[in-house]
Amino acid sequence: MSVLDIKNIHIDFPTSKGVVHAVTDVTLSIEKGRRIGFIGESGSGKTTTALAAMRMLANPGFVAGGEVHLNSLDGNTNVLHLDDEQMRRVRLRKISYIPQGAMNSLNPVMRVDAQIWDAVVAHEGGLSQADLQARSDTALDGVGLDPKVVGRLFPHELSGGMKQRVCIAIGTCLTPDLIIADEPTSALDVITQRHVMQTLREMQEKIGAGLILIGHDMGLMAQSVDDIAVLKKGVLVEFGPVRKIIEDAEHPYTRELISSVPLVGGDSFLSAQASPPKGEKLDQPLLELDGVSKQYGAVTALHPMSFALDGEEPKIISIVGQSGSGKSTMGSLMLGFNDPSAGQVRFKGDDINAMSAGAKLAFRKQVQAVFQDPYACFNPFYRVNHALKFPYENFGMGGDVQTAMEEACTAVGLDPSLVLGRYPHQLSGGQRQRLIVARALMLSPKLLIADEPVSMVDASLRATILANIHDLKDKHGISIIYITHDLATAYHVSDYVMVLYHGHVVEAGPPKEVIGDPQHAYTRLLIDSIPWPDLDRDWGDADDARAALDELARIGGTPETVYRGDIPGFTLGQG
């Protein structure tokens, strides 16, 4: 029996540019106990469709047509006809919602168990303190949190994964018919993501509710849901069982989504260049870290490490790790944005933190960066040309700026007439990130630090942008430090990989060894936790995920480095 039937729904958003039909004629049913994945890129209408069932559309959106039937209602089952009080009773009790950012969804001044009581009291009226306590204990126990300890804590005392599990506890404490989970793990690292997803699945199976999982990661969908609905620009382009979609997708867009997930060991999305141009031969290494460490107060972000990279043969060195592993600290140390607590960062033999103004400008010209957030990288006050033109002129590079900009845009696959002369908000995230790559190309640096360059870009564009960055090495002879949390892309792009954990390098070597055949427990755990669009791969259950987290806590202290081989022109040493 179906829990929820969405029939021919249309959702419109009136904007200053005209009416946007965010969702057009979507029809689908959610069966009891079944998990449905809504997948699509940002703006595809996946969240909007799901939220219409809760009547929680963001202003000024409204349902322009169609019906949404919640079959457990008495009499008229169309939720669009309910009054506000009836709708209030439906929310959480019949349809619950697990939000994307758990950190912003919990009340910061209430203890965890009190937030669960809030939900119970709002729907069942006043219960005795003992009853309430029993309810919150069961709810927290169900998601694998210790009610005695966690129940008495405030949200800021919990980790991201724990907060998300509290949200699951609240969402399931009234045994709803349908759970809507809106990208519940997008802010978590892969190890925690696996644990949270397994918990969510376990709870959903226990209460037998339907589940709508909203996301953009085909790998996560393959591991988590029974049916997949693919949305594109508000239209349901494909709907079917997960195995059929993954193995035999009909719509080209679905196939594009699946192929955009890079696989460890799969085919490369890059086309290799026969003979990359050589950089200049130097007596000194291009970039050298000599016993560099960084402390923030009592916290050690990076333990002493040394490496030397010569610039003769351009290479891509990947630094892989989860949030808090110290990888971004390394990036800002190498750019000279941060002083090391000990040791020296040397560029062509000169300490970058003890340079004269003139030498610093020369250093800046030779070391460029691509950052994570393409939305923040452009000053909203200026047209995008400013970001390309200013450094070009500031570094005193000869030649015509306009021609240089147009050539750089063309080289990264952007049409100069479509992007130049626009304001940043008029461009998509992918276009902006490509422009930043074009900017680096224009300045032709010797070294590029790419700090999570594709983590905020839609999945279908990631491969293209990485190919652009790879071209910088292959066609323009620029050495690249690629900082990422994504092992699969590091596998394809890099010549050498360092896996960072709590500021230590735990495993290092060529990617085929480190990622293809990991030896260190942490690297293995990372790779096991990646959700892949491969249905026959076992992602484990919640107990596996829990055991893995315990294992992680065990190796926490001072992990050993596993060296997996060297490549010419790069040497790594701890201490």
Partner: protein, 316 residues
């Protein structure tokens, strides 16, 4: 991969069918934030007061502000005073107890009050921009000193200090009064700009500018300042309001410039000459209405600027 792909919009394209002319007009207004009715009305009201001051000097005799310029205690046109004399066109808004013409007082006094407010606010903003940028961008000890001193200054009620200072100064000029008030309106812009600079300092585009080898001056004035303009405007207008309130407060207490007509001074004279018991409502009534218009104008500008800088407040 073609570039058409990257240029394609991520959401469905907007549909313009079935939109009425009236809706179209509203949409265009939404697109151009400066075409905001609140902003336009607010600027209109303030311009009206400035025009009153400028044109008034051509069409009315400003010499009438002096004692004995006309018959004392005259009502506005057609209004009888307590002696049964009916107001005439010689003094359309009436006269005060010493025969000063109320219309002339308003023509000279209103721009003076506005001048004090704008000048005090300009000086306060300049100090605030300088200190806010120094604190936010330099950080460390400089930041500590500026932050603590602005926080301490915020807790001191300005009127209390100004009453003491002005009472000891005796008669002062309008400019001097503006400078004294400015000493109390730099704290909130300082705090506002410091907070914005602190968050902007870590933003992507400032990092990009540093990568481009930009100097600190370039980063502060070319990258950060333009993005602060809406905040600066809002803060400036709020400060003008505060400054005028403070100035009028002092004048009504009989402090401030003694020989220059201002709206506050007119109200002070009215109160001290018992205009209320003599039923001479025109004496304090007209300056109060003018002050009200001034504040409503400033408020509307502030609300309008809010909508300009924060599109969420705009309604389609």
């Amino acid at each position: 991969m073609s570039h058409n792909n990257a240029a394609a919009p991520e959401t469905a394209a907007p549909d313009m069918t079935g939109i009425t002319k009236k809706q179209l007009k509203r949409m265009r207004r939404f697109d151009n934030p400066w075409n905001n009715p609140k902003l336009i009305w607010g600027i209109g009201l303030l311009l009206g007061i400035v025009l009153l001051g400028v044109l008034g000097r051509f069409f009315w005799d400003p010499e009438l502000v002096f004692t004995g310029a006309g018959m004392p205690r005259q009502g506005p046109v057609g209004i009888e005073n307590l002696r049964g004399q009916v107001g005439t066109w010689a003094h359309p808004l009436g006269t005060d107890v010493s025969g000063k013409d109320i219309l002339a007082l308003l023509i000279v006094g209103a721009p003076n009050s506005l001048y004090v407010g704008v000048l005090a606010s300009l000086i306060g903003m300049s100090i605030g921009i300088f200190l806010g940028f120094s604190a936010g961008y330099t950080g460390g000890r400089v930041d500590d000193v500026i932050r603590v001193s602005s926080d301490v200054m915020i807790t001191i009620p300005p009127l209390l200090i100004l009453v003491v200072v002005q009472a000891s100064f005796g008669d002062i000029t309008l400019t001097m009064m503006a400078i004294l008030i400015a000493a109390f309106v730099w704290q909130s812009p300082t705090r506002l700009i410091r907070a914005q600079v602190l968050s902007m300092r870590e933003s992507g585009y400032v990092q990009m500018a540093r990568l481009s080898g930009a100097s600190n001056m370039h980063i502060m004035f070319r990258e950060m300042l333009p993005n602060l303009v809406p905040y600066l405007f809002g803060s400036f207008i709020a400060n003008v309001t505060t400054s005028i309130v403070t100035a009028v407060g002092l004048e009504v207490l009989g402090l401030g410039p003694q020989r220059v007509p201002t709206l506050g001074r007119v109200i002070y004279d009215a109160i001290s000459s018992a205009a209320l018991t003599q039923n001479m409502w025109w004496w304090w009534g007209f300056p109060t209405i003018l002050l009200g218009v001034m504040f409503i104008g400033l408020l509307l500008i502030n609300l309008g600027l809010d909508e300009v800088s924060n599109p969420r407040l705009r309604k389609l």
